[in-house]
Symmetry: C2
Subunit: 396 residues, 2 copies
């Protein structure tokens, strides 16, 4: 792991190990009401361990947003390690709202880079569909500022709708261009057996779908769903023991912004994305031009557009047009959300960031839907209050 720039690092960096991905696994995203959180988490953990060919790990980092509210269960580290039969290892949960998966991944990278762990499993999991008490919408609002946002009744769709309206105003952007984000994601989900919605949708159907929070319509919003995804990490040095195609973590950053949207000078760009991307590109010594594919956090259509801009692929205000031109499709200039994104693969919040990195890994291994040398994933928590950016590359 190279030095992070700009924080006065004085020692140790040059000796850091690179970290590699040697295994991936997940469950299909959907509404498996016959399976509990622990079952899908164990299923994906085992799938990734099988993929890596390991029968033990010495660390488990769980990415999860709100199992306490969704299924009355905390202590996911011990729960999943226990039911996956991992023994008395180190295990704990990491939370960064809907960005929990990406944050857990970076924590796993730290665990290996620190030398304190050797082979680590990162499992993102969320079980959202069979909630007994509160509604999922109320629970998700816990990721906004409870005392200054949620208390007034604004939901996440509402907050994102305000961002979208401002964006359309500032850049004179067309709603039909922004709506090309979910059209692309659905198209790419058709061939993903783990996606929740494996069917194409037309631009008209998005535009004419019921309004949820004006100007965001139903087909611009990711679904409430369940899922679990896992990644096995080890040092670059050891990676070849497990796989012929280790994928290198070239950059991994997590940055936060104000939790409340009202406290930002500009709501049409996410500072946390910009800062995380800057750090990740610097770590990787790569630029946006080097990226062959991108997994955007398209929980709402507008977030896909702003992601394209904040990650440096197009100038501010140009994202919607870039998408509408077809540049983000398979075969386009920058294939995005290649397995369906949050909209069509699904968005089991704490797992999403891990699904993205898994999909990116497939594309980098040469077994995916695009053939990529380097790729990037962006995972957002809250309305841009926590963002992780991950850059992966082939081991060449």
């Amino acid at each position: 792991m190279p030095c992070m720039p700009g924080i006065g690092k004085k020692s140790g960096c040059d000796e850091m190990n690179d970290v590699a991905i040697v295994g991936i696994g997940c469950t299909p995203v959907g509404e498996p009401w016959n399976k509990s959180l622990r079952e899908i988490a164990v299923e994906s953990t085992w799938a990734a361990m099988n993929d890596a060919g390991v029968n033990e790990v010495d660390g488990l980092v769980v990415g999860n947003m709100s199992s306490g509210n969704f299924v009355d269960q905390e202590s996911l580290g011990s729960l999943i390690a226990d039911y996956a039969g991992l023994g008395n290892i180190t295990a704990f949960k990491v939370e960064g709202a809907c960005g929990s998966g990406g944050v857990a991944f970076r924590t796993g990278v730290m665990a290996v880079a620190s030398g304190m762990h050797d082979v680590v499993c990162v499992t993102g999991v969320e079980k959202m569909t069979d909630v007994v008490g509160d509604s999922a919408t109320k629970i998700l609002a816990n990721a906004s500022d409870r005392e200054y946002e949620a208390v007034h009744g604004v939901t996440f769709v509402g907050l994102n709708a305000m961002v979208m309206r401002r964006y359309m105003h500032d850049y004179n952007a067309r709603r039909e261009d922004i709506c090309s984000i979910p059209v692309n994601s659905h198209k790419n989900a058709v061939h993903n057996k783990n996606a929740m919605f494996r069917r194409e949708i037309s631009l008209d159907s998005v535009i004419n779908s019921p309004m949820v929070a004006d100007p965001l319509s139903l087909m611009e919003c990711a679904p409430i769903c369940d899922g679990a995804a896992s990644i096995i990490l080890t040092t670059r040095e050891r990676a070849k023991e497990f796989t012929d195609t280790p994928i290198i973590v070239k950059g991994s950053a997590v940055k936060v912004d104000t939790i409340g949207v009202h406290d930002r000078k500009n709501v049409t760009s996410m500072t946390a994305t910009v800062e995380a991307a800057k750090e990740a590109y610097n770590m990787a010594k790569l630029t946006p031009k080097d990226m062959d594919t991108a997994e955007l956090h398209d929980a709402f259509s507008i977030m896909g557009v702003i992601g394209l801009e904040d990650l440096g692929f197009v100038r501010h205000g140009k994202g919607a047009h870039f998408a509408a031109e077809g540049q983000i499709g398979i075969g386009g200039k920058l294939p995005c959300c290649t397995y369906g994104g949050l909209k069509a693969r699904g968005h089991p919040v704490g797992a999403t960031g891990v699904y993205q990195i898994l999909e990116l890994t497939k594309n980098l291994r040469g077994e995916g839907v695009v053939d990529a040398q380097n790729g990037i994933a962006q995972n957002i928590g809250g309305t841009g209050s926590t963002v992780s950016v991950t850059i992966l590359g082939r081991d060449i």
Copy 2:
């Protein structure tokens, strides 16, 4: 950070930086109904930063169990970084039930040891006393196995009561000996201005207090309360820039066990404590004999007793007698819970592990209630399903 033994480490370890504590701060534990979670978290974060003399950090690790259930708020990383004015740094929450504070501390150690962070704040916080919906007892039960334990109505006191009864049976232990644990903690809290209960209690008053879950009485159980505690970490190399008395993290381990108590062969010893202690002692190249003081997780009297045994200070079955003899008092062979422990300082669950390390740091700096060269802290999540063990020492 030296190599962890026994997991086949092949590279990097010898180059690891030692990690040091350079700042500590906390709020008084109690029932501050006029302050929200964010307020106490910011107060303790700033207190630790002031103590270290830093006005910025590049990482914030929050230890918290259940803010989603207690105060309808997730995303504590961005929330606290935002309100503490820390800017667009890396910030996230770590959870390991009532052991969240200790787990967060170790995650902060990894962050520095990995070279990915330079100066990190670890803030443990829990706000438990002004819950609107569910009761605190129900929320705490989320740390047990919801589907196999809590669903039957057993609470944490109930689970610990079963452990205590088995312990008394197996070792023919006397209840009045076990009850000397809270007597010691209360005695030590008198001089701690941050403690919730600053008064001594007699052995008789403990024994005769109302039964909560037979054989555990009210005065053997830690209170529901609010609190926040923070620690500033950096490399050993940089530590002298901030303080004349840096405290070195000599060992730091987190281990899990089965989440359900019924799945263990032996319930009178916590395997997670034994394994975490083994790893921490190995990292530190120290033994129980080298410890001058111990912060035990005395959430229930019996846990203090078993902690003494599992950390290697006395043989199994001898902990209660050791405590009753006065060996754990200030001036005794091994002063324990020197600032009141969980019973009298209080147990704001996600913050507790950080309070313990803060108190240990005071004792090691030579500004505490005992004068120690090395010390140990044990923080438990669930009924021993997650345990962190931390060994600190002077920089000599």
